[in-house]
């Protein structure tokens, strides 16, 4: 706990028994206004739209329900009516294993939130600005290659194809950065429609087939399970997930290997598995594989184009669709990435319509 943390202690009846000066400063109250008062009545937790959070959803209630420490971000309405973002940690106070109350430590994160928002806005703006000139580079490169501006030598064509390849790569990077910014700022829009996961996966495999054939990698798709391969989800987001996993599998599989997708249509969900015979992930790196910017050292030596953002993005996107992802992998033998999508998904848990939301 740093000196900037507010501390509130409550008894078994939810009455405030201790409060430190920093808590008083953050909340704008005097000590005698809080001591002896009922915690939920005096410490008002709200959502960003200033609507009260149900008592059962407050961190202290969760800490009592689980018997464990709970840390989460929330918002407090302070004495002068302002709503401030706070990071809260609550632990039950136990005496001989019996709960006697709780201790809450919280921090005003207004400054951190502001910096984070500025960072996201900067990435979003920079990414959009980068796309415009890139689009011109790609268009004119294609026109030149296609001979609209006269005949070219084979060396000139080869150089232009390299420009197009690099532009496509940059475009992918910009899309990844934009998507990550949207996920982290909660501004991703999910549009749920009925779609066929088999058809979508097949479409992605076709798009990646050229890349795979360059490396003499065999691609395949099979379906198992007795249910339908159709379900309600966001097609654009799902396509991004499947594309990321399959292109990763191709990227990290040596020449002549195999990459396959398997769709297991189960009663309550659909499980999709992407399997490769690639370099695999060393066991000691398993914990970090979904971390931002992480690249396993064994592949970063071999493959230099990765950013370490792909799997971080995939995990974030799957969470938006109510899915889960996990993997098994052995270094030198390959990896299996499995993910599930619920059949009854109706959309993310958002309370309010936000006009600022963007589509992928």
């Amino acid at each position: 706990m740093s000196i900037g943390d507010g501390v509130i202690v409550t008894d078994e009846f939810g009455k405030i028994t201790r409060v430190n000066p920093q808590a008083l400063r953050i909340l704008g109250h005097k000590e005698d206004e809080l001591l002896g008062q009922w915690f939920p009545q005096k410490i008002i937790a709200v959502n960003p739209q200033d609507k009260a959070i149900p008592l059962i959803d407050r961190p202290m209630a969760k800490a009592y329900l689980t018997g464990k420490s709970i840390s989460e971000k929330s918002y407090y309405r302070v004495a002068d009516g302002r709503v401030i973002p706070v990071h809260i940690s609550v632990s039950p106070i136990l005496l001989n294993n019996r709960p006697q109350g709780a201790i809450e430590i919280f921090r005003d994160i207004t400054t951190e939130e502001g910096i984070d928002r500025m960072k996201s806005e900067f990435i979003s703006l920079a990414s959009h600005q980068l796309r415009t000139p890139l689009s011109s580079i790609k268009t004119y490169s294609h026109m030149l290659v296609d001979g609209y501006m006269g005949d070219l030598t084979s060396a000139q064509k080869k150089s232009l194809k390299t420009i197009i390849f690099a532009s496509n790569r940059m475009n992918e990077l910009i899309s990844t950065l934009l998507n990550i910014t949207r996920i982290e700022s909660g501004a991703i829009a999910v549009s749920v429609k009925m779609l066929d996961t088999k058809r979508l996966t097949d479409e992605v495999l076709t798009e990646l087939s050229l890349h795979a054939s360059d490396k003499k990698i065999t691609l395949s798709l099979r379906c198992t399970g007795k249910g339908s391969t159709r379900l309600k989800t966001d097609g654009l987001i799902l396509k991004e997930i499947i594309t990321n996993l399959l292109s990763n599998a191709i990227k990290y599989t040596p020449e002549g290997g195999n990459v396959s997708a398997k769709i297991n249509a189960r009663p309550n969900d659909i499980m999709i598995t992407v399997t490769d015979t690639g370099w695999g992930i060393p066991k000691h790196d398993h914990d970090q594989i979904f971390s931002k910017f992480f690249r396993a050292p064994n592949v970063s030596k071999l493959e230099t184009t990765g950013t370490g953002l792909g799997l971080y993005l995939v995990k974030g996107l799957l969470e938006e669709l109510g899915g889960n992802i996990w993997f098994t992998s052995k270094e030198g033998e390959g990896s299996d990435f499995h993910f599930t999508l619920p059949r009854n998904y109706t959309g993310p848990k958002t309370d309010e319509y936000d006009p600022k939301v963007n589509k992928l």
Binding site: E12, G14, K15, Q41, L55, A61, Y64, G67, P99
Partner: protein
């Protein structure tokens, strides 16, 4: 006859008492408390479990109401169940 490990009768009694204070939320409230703190199906609640659980119920309810007398009354009624319902299962009193 002394009961085995299951005691759905006790769980039902606890829910019945809780309904007086929490209304229709009673079943879900108690069920969540049993599952989270005892890691067992609610229907398998035992008297010895309830003794441990009452403290958690007390602090949780204290975040729903500031009426300490009511909380005391409620938990006293739950404590009463630990006395009147020994490990006696479905054939208990």
């Amino acid at each position: 006859m002394m009961a085995s490990s299951t005691d759905s009768a006790l769980y039902d009694k606890v829910v019945r008492v809780t309904k007086v204070y929490l209304g229709p939320a009673a079943d879900r409230f108690i069920s969540r408390q049993v599952q989270n703190h005892l890691h067992k199906p609610p229907q398998e609640l035992l008297t010895s479990d309830l003794v441990k659980l009452i403290d958690w119920i007390r602090v949780s309810v204290a975040l729903l109401t500031d009426d300490t007398d009511l909380i005391e009354e409620y938990t006293a009624r739950l404590e009463q169940l630990t006395v009147s319902t020994p490990e006696s299962g479905k054939n208990g009193p």
